[in-house]
Amino acid sequence: MEDLLDTSALIQLRVDGEFHELDVLAGRTLLDVLRDDIGKKGTHLGCKTGHCGACTVMIDGKVAKSCITMAATLARAEITTIEGLLDEKGGLHPIQQSFWDEAGLQCGYCAPGIVLSALELVTDNHHPSAEDIELALAGSLCRCTGYQSIKRSVAEACVRMYPANENIN
């Protein structure tokens, strides 16, 4: 049984389309690996307990809190960070643009996580209700905006991404 044990584990991550093979120490978080090893500084450290959502990234298309995800447990995974949302020319994703236009962020510390949660929502649900939006964003805390402009930003993004949505709100 001893041969199963090691102080580190080999993981294969595709981060924003770029392949990385890493040997990570047991106990390290995905957040640390993304920021320190791969240089994705758009993923923010907030609470380290899973309450605030600033560290949110997508793992295989589903949002997760990278500060409470142990990197070693991701033998193979596709990771999307906020940097991965930019288009080839470095232009903003429609959700990011809506957040910009509708004042969906002030200090911006929570914004990467909230934008990614919004992305998971609108990928599966092109016509989210106000309640759907609240539910999808419940895992992130924002201490600046009071949430109203964030919810407006997500609704606006849906209208822009799926123009048949003129009637939502």
């Binding site: 090691d6 995800t69 142990m70």
Partner: protein, 293 residues
């Protein structure tokens, strides 16, 4: 305790079980990590070995055998909320899984097995499963063993011991005439409950035939209340009966918790309020259709 912990990724259940049996008490099992990682991050726990069971196929999936739903321990909360067999057969469990805090991020990775073995008094899954009289299956060096969740909870408040793995949860399909309610009293949207209550009520026309209430988040372990309510069976529900149920549930709490969720005296009182509101939710008949995926 170790500054240089080891990590293992066993291939299957047999290997995981053998590995755990060969290790000392410094080993922890990890899958989604939602329970354990906050403790690791703050140095509250410093395990010698992480045994990662997240890749073991035998722990995944939801199956129905006759009238029993089998839920693999690695099933994440998001799947508990949306898997058809659970939403249709165990709507109370699907609803309770929606009440878990932390948002989609936590629901996408947190597992039902991890939620149970943490034995955290404030969590939402245990009251729902206890109300449904669920069983659990455990694997240890003694082999597979099936026991009721209530027995597991009462055996030890510290989980399973480091050599066991919770493999699946087994729950009887709720009968069509069974009404259910779940009420979580909390001070903000994502907060832990200050008092949680799950109610499962069987009706015979207008009359209450059986009633089972489980109170969570008020004492160290969930409290199952059923026999003490026998006096209120056979009649229709009235506000007086609701108040009486409230009192029975308050009296059932011996040692209320005092923590960030509130002071013990208040928590004990709120156990009754939560129980009555869960009962009223069940009787409102709206519960099955209000499930939102």
């Amino acid at each position: 305790m170790s500054l240089h912990p080891m990590y293992a990724r066993p291939r299957d259940l047999e290997q995981a079980s053998q590995l755990l049996a060969s290790l000392s008490s410094g080993a922890v099992i990890i899958a989604g990590g939602q329970e354990i990682m906050p403790f690791i991050n703050y140095g509250v726990m410093m395990p010698d070995v992480y045994v990662d069971i997240g890749g073991i196929k035998a722990l995944k999936g939801v199956n129905v055998n006759d009238d029993e739903v089998s839920i693999g321990a690695l099933t994440v909360h998001r799947d508990i909320q949306s898997t058809e067999d659970i939403v249709e057969r165990l709507p109370l469990l699907a609803y309770a899984a929606q009440q878990i805090g932390g948002g989609w991020q936590v629901h996408n990775r947190g597992t039902i097995g991890g939620n149970i073995v943490s034995m955290h008094p404030l969590y939402d899954i245990a009251p729902a499963l206890l109300a449904l009289d669920a069983d659990v299956e455990l694997l240890s060096d003694k082999g597979l063993q099936r026991m009721s969740l209530l027995q597991l909870q009462n055996d030890s408040s510290h989980g399973l011991g480091s050599s066991s793995i919770l493999t699946k949860i087994l729950v009887k399909t709720m009968l069509p005439n069974v009404l259910w309610g779940y009420y979580k009293l909390k001070n903000s949207a994502g907060a832990y409950g200050s008092a949680n209550a799950a109610a499962v009520i069987q009706m015979d026309g207008e009359k209450i035939k059986s009633i089972r209430i489980v109170i969570g988040a008020v004492s160290e372990t969930s409290v199952v209340i059923s026999k003490a309510l026998d006096g209120y069976l056979g009649g229709a529900y009235t506000l007086e009966i609701g108040r009486a149920i409230e009192k029975v549930c308050i009296d059932a709490i011996d040692e209320p918790l005092s923590d960030q969720q509130g002071d013990g005296v208040w928590r004990k009182a709120m156990a009754g309020i939560a129980a009555r509101r869960a009962t009223e939710m069940a009787l409102s008949n709206l519960t099955t259709s209000s499930i939102k995926r």
